[in-house]
Amino acid sequence: MANPSADRFEQDTVEILTRLSRRPIEPTPDKELMADLGFDSLQVLELVGELEDHFNVSVPLNALTHIRTVGQIVDEVRTLASAAPGSPA
């Protein structure tokens, strides 16, 4: 699964996604969380909660409406973490 071109945001997100999924999945950036990976709306919010805790960010409500793919959620947390003061990124 280790992808040399992926940064820690992508690696950690993929790891968390794989842990939360009820079935074996291959969460590449283009995969849609609900349609491709079989997440229901509850699991998507569980994922967001885990990512927020892990990266110490808060995903805005309107972003939740637009996030469909793995890549989009990775981009979202990367942007939020980079903007946060004292960010280790």
């Binding site: 349609a35 709306s41 509850l42 919010l45 309107n62 409406t65």
Partner: protein
């Protein structure tokens, strides 16, 4: 019981106390708003809405994801003498297109003169409202509503007091049932709301006193959150904690943290929430929780699993949770909200499974027979009655399963501008709930439903919507789809999609496409996809699919031969 009051009268009374609402938003930000301040904000918004020319009884749709904004907007609409129509915000409505289509239908069907929303939501919704894309919905957009945000309503002339309304005036249009194509708006008067809320908080209900603290993460566009938690708190003028449902779903522990931190004594949630807490709150978190003041842990809005509640009680006992606090309940939007409460903890009736299914009788199990466990949902409130009747509307003896009907001052006026469905639902003053159950020792037990609605995690899905979503999936035969739920008395609904395939369709691809489409449009997982040849689904002479017959044949194993 107190003299019945309108919502604004109750808010004015609450404003005379030092108490109020603490809001906890999706990101954990908290804000304490005394009822006094909420009343002032409501009068300001109400004044601005009146200045725009809206008149008593006009409908105003409200879709605001932030809970403090929703609550302020809601009471502002009410203070203006207008009728709020709460809508589900997009974050929890599956995808944006479904949200827009569904909301546009409701806005059209309610002839809303205005939509109170946010700058974030407006661009998602406005195009669908302006250009309804569904020719099959004649009710859509007869009036073109104006869009407002709370910010845009600041600084207008404020009302000295909320507009006086009478108990017979319409208080609320609650669109919780009905498919997207045919939305059904439950019409409730202030009298209905007052009857139900006073029943909930009164001595035969929860016996709410000034020392109680309510804590809720329930969505406010839904009856249990809006009426059961928010309005009940305002009518009893107690301290309330209103938490974002997004926060709860992200971190279920946030609900229990709030109960612990703010001394919550009353909180309601559907079965799945208790399950979620047990699964996702770590045992290491237990020692930081004090749930000893939680005296009413209500459970309703979806089938109640006794095992879930028992496991929750066991798991959280070290945090001071008492299993006697659990309060199974039964209710529906058409009855304002609550119909029965079962006091004294979870009481289970263990009945013979075979005789329940075959003979529609609930007889206590004898050794060896397979059994199902059904939770006692309790007794109706003073001034209200509940009966179980047969097809001819004749009351059935105890332990015979039939249709649950209810009567009393909490029963809705009808479905907004839907006289035919209203007539079928309100018979001789009795509300036909669509649920099946039986009475035993004067208590109600709920064990199924006659309507086609599918319930998952407290949310209702309509087979017609899901079937419509599947109609243009590649490989699906023309009107060759039926979706239904297999209901279980002690477990979640199982969703089945029967799909007639076109010649040459690749079955593995089609099954995945069906699941994918339902997930995309409804955020729902289909449990079983049945692919069948054209002609499998039973139809009426006019060619309409017969859903219940399809389900019956599926259950009997005779659908696909």
């Amino acid at each position: 019981m107190n003299t019945p009051r309108t919502v604004s009268e109750a808010l004015r009374d609450a404003a005379d106390t030092p108490r109020g609402i603490r809001f906890i938003e999706h990101d954990g930000r908290t804000q304490l708003v005394p009822y006094r301040e909420l009343l002032a904000c409501a009068c300001a918004i109400g004044g601005a809405l009146r200045a725009l020319g809206y008149e008593d009884g006009d409908r105003v749709a409200i879709v605001i994801p932030e809970i403090s904004g929703f609550v302020t907007g809601f009471f502002g609409i009410v203070a203006a003498g207008l009728v709020p129509v709460p809508l589900c915000p997009p974050a929890q409505a599956g995808d944006v297109a479904t949200f827009a289509r569904h909301s546009a239908h409701i806005i059209g069907a309610s002839h809303a003169v205005a939509v109170l929303t946010t700058d974030d939501v407006r661009p998602l919704l406005e195009p669908a409202v302006r250009q309804p894309d569904h020719a099959d919905a004649p009710s859509v957009a007869r009036v073109s509503p104006n869009f407002h945000t709370l910010e845009s309503l600041q600084g207008g002339p404020t009302l000295a007091a909320p507009r006086p309304r009478s108990l017979d005036d319409i208080a609320l249009l609650q669109f919780t049932s009905g498919s997207t194509a045919l939305p059904k708006g439950v019409v409730l008067t202030f009298g209905n709301l007052a009857s139900n809320v006073e029943s909930i908080i009164g001595p035969a209900g929860l016996g709410v006193g000034p020392g109680d603290v309510s804590v809720s993460w329930l969505p406010l566009y839904h009856d249990m959150g809006l009426i059961g938690m928010l309005l009940s708190s305002v009518y009893s003028a107690i301290d309330a904690v209103q938490m974002s449902s997004v926060l709860f779903l992200k971190r279920p522990s946030a609900w229990l943290d709030a109960l612990s931190r703010y001394g919550g004594s009353i909180s309601f949630a559907p079965n799945f929430a208790y399950e979620l807490c047990r699964r996702r709150v770590k045992s290491s978190q237990l020692e930081q929780l004090d749930l000893s003041r939680w005296r009413v842990a209500g459970c309703g809005a979806e089938p109640i699993r006794p095992d879930t509640l028992q496991q929750f009680a066991d798991y959280f006992a070290p945090a001071g949770f008492r299993k006697e606090s659990l309060l199974p309940s039964y209710g529906l939007a058409e009855h304002s909200l609550a119909v029965t409460f079962a006091h004294g903890g979870v009481s289970v009736d263990t009945v013979d499974a075979e005789r329940l299914v075959r003979e529609s009788v609930a007889v206590p199990v004898v050794n060896g027979s397979s059994s199902v466990r059904i939770v006692r949902c309790g007794t109706p409130f003073p001034g209200h009655s509940v009966r179980v009747v047969d097809e001819d509307f004749v009351e059935l003896p105890e332990r015979h399963v039939g249709a649950i009907v209810a009567r009393g001052p909490s029963v809705m006026q009808g479905y907004f501008e839907q006289p035919e469905i209203t007539e079928a639902t309100l018979r001789d003053g009795w509300l036909v709930t669509g649920d099946l159950g039986y009475m035993a020792n004067g208590s109600l037990y709920v064990c199924g439903r006659t309507k086609d609605v599918i319930i998952r995690q407290g949310r209702k899905y309509h087979p017609a919507d899901l079937e419509a979503a599947l109609s243009d999936v590649q490989g699906v035969a023309v009107s060759g789809v039926v979706v239904f739920a297999l209901t279980h008395v002690d477990d979640a609904d199982e969703v089945v999609a029967v799909v007639e395939t076109r010649a040459g369709a690749r079955t593995t691809d089609l099954e995945e496409a069906v699941r994918r489409r339902i997930r995309e449009t409804a955020g729902l997982d289909v449990d079983r996809v049945v692919l069948a040849s054209p002609g499998t689904i039973p139809r009426t002479t006019s060619g309409k699919v017969r859903r219940s017959e399809t389900r019956n044949r599926f259950e009997a194993g005779t659908l696909v031969r």
